[in-house]
Amino acid sequence: MSDVKQQVTLTINGQPVTAEIEPRLLLVHFIREVANLTGTHIGCDTTSCGACAVLVNGIPAKSCTMFAVQADGAQISTVEGLEQGGALHPVQEGFFQEHGLQCGFCTPGMMMTAVAFLERNPNPTDDEIRQAISGNLCRCTGYVNIVKSIQYAAARMREQQAAPAMATAGSEAAQ
């Protein structure tokens, strides 16, 4: 047994967070209690539900099943980092438009998984979406609207990809 603390620095949504922590501190507790970002939820706490999903160096992880010390030096993305400059991320917009949530507890993890998935597969089938979110449990929606939300986001992201010049012009005009 050891009470020795270790200094770690995790970059969460672009902000470095340095702390002295016990090695047994789980990543989800670091995010919620050290970085005070409570958008990441703790659901089952047994590696089943995916409510705690965050991106570690861009890869979806169950943050209840990783020690914060393992993520020392890593880039962490949480739901709080999705909105950029007052504009919702297409995945957030999709969940809003398509009613992809009811109680909302699974939503942050669901969206983080979806964000990473759409980076890899910008034009997915419904079946591929269902496979991709099979580590994220939702007890309200029956998943139908979640799949629709992710399809909505995929379409929006493809549009943005197709017309980057227009999007840039638009955001400059807005400023």
């Binding site: 047994m1 050891s2 009470d3 020795v4 270790q6 016990e22 090695p23 047994r24 789980l26 706490d45 047994t46 590696t47 089943s48 995916g50 999903a53 890869i59 979806p60 992880a61 169950k62 209840c64 099943t65 990783m66 020690f67 010390v69 393992q70 998984t113 496979q131 991709a132 099979s134 580590g135 994220n136």
Partner: protein
């Protein structure tokens, strides 16, 4: 749930890993992807005083064919195997096993090395590796040795790794022409451990089976090689009757216990059905040309 306290070590070389293991005999656990170890620690079923993380050790992420084998480094994640064109094309049974381990988020971090070294009979890779006659590369202070999968798997959560040894890679022999493999799993719900699962690898000459490998998941203290079933099929034509007899012998080799996933006799019947499916799927792939 909060794990018990431990000291975290993240050495950058294998000699440092061995040093850590030798300095704390019986008190240290190797951490790879953590998807089995961390849940055990949270339940306090495992309370290692030292956790030795392999993440900074270079050279454990190989995924390539070399000297007649697919070499999979200990830190290769399940998701990498799942997305590897090479694995999908030439080692389809290993791909199918990877693709049914837990769920996609777990597979982003879980490793095949950990899946084997953890030696849980419910894990999916051990039986497939039995079918594919894989070798485990272990490195310790006294050098490297290759351990056949049957010798590697000793008992429930027990391998033949010496306390100071580290599993560094898995070597799956490159299949010859007209070889096919398959992994067929039956689970209560997506992401669960198998009620039972069967891995098979079949080599054909015409419609005669010349080599057979059959491994069983979660129906005994460790992954089981269905020796009698393999011996029966070799030299036989791939007829419906012969596949059925092979499946019957595979079910006889199973040693299932009764639990929440079903009574023992049910599981034995599941093994019989899955063995027939896995052998048939592997043979179909072998017949279609197998390795390309």
């Amino acid at each position: 749930m909060i794990p018990d306290k431990f000291t975290y070590l993240a050495p950058t070389s294998l000699p440092e890993v061995w040093q850590a293991l030798q300095a704390h005999p019986g008190e240290a656990k190797i951490l790879a992807g953590g998807q089995s170890l961390i849940p055990l620690m949270k339940f306090r079923l495992a309370t290692p005083a030292y956790v030795v993380d392999l993440r900074r050790v270079a050279g454990l992420d190989t995924l390539e064919e070399r000297n007649g084998a697919l070499v999979i480094g200990a830190m290769v994640r399940e998701s990498q195997l799942e997305r590897s064109d090479l694995v999908r094309r030439r080692y389809i049974g290993a791909y199918e096993a990877s693709a049914v381990v837990a769920d996609p988020l777990v597979r982003n971090f879980a490793t095949i090395g950990g899946n084997l070294a953890h030696a849980d009979p419910a894990n999916d890779h051990p039986a497939m590796m039995v079918a594919m006659r894989a070798q485990v590369a272990a490195q310790g202070p006294n050098g490297q040795r290759m351990i056949g999968i049957d010798d590697f798997l000793v008992d429930t959560m027990e391998t033949s790794l010496a306390p100071e040894e580290v599993l560094t890679a898995i070597h799956i022999p490159t299949p010859t022409q007209h070889t096919g493999s398959a992994y067929v799993k039956f689970e209560r719900k997506v992401g669960d451990y198998a009620i039972a699962a069967v891995g098979a690898q079949i080599t054909l000459n015409g419609d005669i089976c010349t080599q057979a490998g059959i491994g069983l998941t979660n129906v005994g203290p460790k992954a089981i090689r269905a020796t009698q079933a393999e011996a029966f099929l070799v030299g036989k034509r791939m007829t419906v009757e012969n596949v059925q007899e092979t499946a019957r012998l595979a079910a006889e080799a199973a040693q299932p216990g009764s639990d929440l996933r079903g009574p023992a006799e049910y599981k034995r019947k599941v093994v019989r059905a899955l063995a027939a499916r896995a052998v048939r799927a592997a043979a179909d792939r072998a017949f279609a040309g197998g390795v390309q």
